[in-house]
């Protein structure tokens, strides 16, 4: 007597082995993609998970004292202190002036912490064309924007504000300087 799996014999169909091999290959390819990506930028082992964030305008938050640039949708970049962090100013310049970067119809603000150890005392010497450099006393605004890592850990972080100054998006994006196209799409949707 045979029943169930003990007596089971797979139905023989033409090319069954090939189909099984194809399914195995597809699934191995999928698993291989995941394992490979595990070690890549933004993968599970990457401490900066900013690249996983969805471009979704889910926030509706006010940060008092953080106005937009002349009532325009504005990108606010939180900078840290010291040479490496302040290099974000140059990066912002590239974003502003690069073809496909952030168009002039959108505001671009870089917050520079002042009054903290190791930081500048004034932002007057840091000005760049096309960018508003604003002092951020003690990193207060960066903290309010949920971007404390920008000041404390020099992580690249930014927020997008609509023309009324409402924060609609914020991200730690390690590649923010080359994502002008995506930022423009989001800012255009904030009009």
């Amino acid at each position: 007597m045979s029943s169930g799996w003990r007596g089971y014999r797979p139905r023989r169909a033409p090319g069954a082995r090939w189909r099984l091999a194809a399914l195995l290959c597809v699934q191995l390819l999928g698993v291989g993609l995941i394992v490979g990506y595990h070690y890549g930028e933004g993968g599970a082992l990457d401490p900066n998970q900013g690249l996983r964030q969805l471009d979704f305008l889910s926030l509706h938050a006010h940060v008092p004292g953080l106005p937009t640039v002349a009532g325009r949708p504005t990108m606010v970049v939180a900078s840290g202190i010291g040479g490496r962090c302040l290099a974000q100013l140059s990066t912002a310049s590239r974003l502003r002036n690069h073809p496909g970067g952030l168009p002039a119809r959108f505001g671009l603000v870089v917050l520079v912490p002042v009054g903290v150890a190791g930081g500048p005392t004034s932002v007057a010497a840091l000005r760049r064309p096309g960018i508003e450099v604003r002092p951020d006393p003690g990193g207060h605004f960066a903290a309010e924007l949920a971007l404390p890592g920008a000041v404390a850990g020099c992580r690249p972080g930014y927020a997008l504000l609509n023309s009324l100054g409402v924060v609609r998006y914020r991200s730690y994006d390690p590649q923010w300087s080359v994502h002008g196209g995506e930022q423009s799409i989001l800012l255009a949707a904030l009009r």
């Binding site: 139905r11 999928g30 995941i34 933004g42 949920a146 590649q175 994502h179 995506e182």
Partner: protein, 168 residues
């Protein structure tokens, strides 16, 4: 199907797939490509298993096309993501479930084997059950997803919760 049509279809599909992978890659969003592709193809496998059809390639590709549709709308049409885009294989909410990539992989593997058993062996009921278990894994994950933050304090709280966690 005539060989010429099969070859043309393969070439077109390959070209579209390569374009899609490239567009994700240049934006540094490979993680999203892997996530939505696995989830969409897995959903296609599950439908093929439910229908008992052997035409799994078209169902897998249709599932992937639906799953990545909001990103295509963003890239091509400049349309930002919106909450209603969850109709495209949970495109929004899948980002905030626990371990999204593991969940998508579970669906991809379980539904794939479920389809194989359903379409090519007598163990059809077992195949459908296997595919259904993959769908159930996704459904449970969606039911317990983290909230999508609407305030900065929620953003801070979620990041504090996830900090230091191993996260696929």
């Amino acid at each position: 199907m005539r060989p010429s049509r099969a070859i043309a279809g393969t070439l077109v599909t390959g070209a579209v797939e390569a374009w899609l992978a490239y567009e994700y890659h240049v934006r540094g969003t490979d993680w999203h490509y892997v996530l939505h592709s696995l989830l969409g193809i897995g959903a296609g496998f599950a439908v093929a298993a439910a229908l008992g059809t052997r035409k799994v390639v078209r169902w897998g590709l249709l599932g992937q096309a639906l799953s990545v549709m909001p990103d295509v709308l963003f890239i091509v049409g400049g349309i930002p993501h919106q909450r209603w885009m969850d109709i495209f294989v949970a495109h929004i909410t899948i980002h905030v479930v626990p371990q999204p990539l593991l969940i998508a992989t579970a669906l991809f593997l379980l539904a794939g084997w479920g389809w194989y058993l359903t379409a090519w062996t007598p163990a059809r009921a077992s195949g459908r059950l296997l595919a259904l278990s993959g769908v159930a894994v996704v459904a449970i994950a969606l039911a317990v997803h983290h909230p999508i933050p609407t305030t900065l304090s929620q953003t801070r709280a979620i990041e504090a919760t996830l900090r230091g966690q191993w996260c696929w």
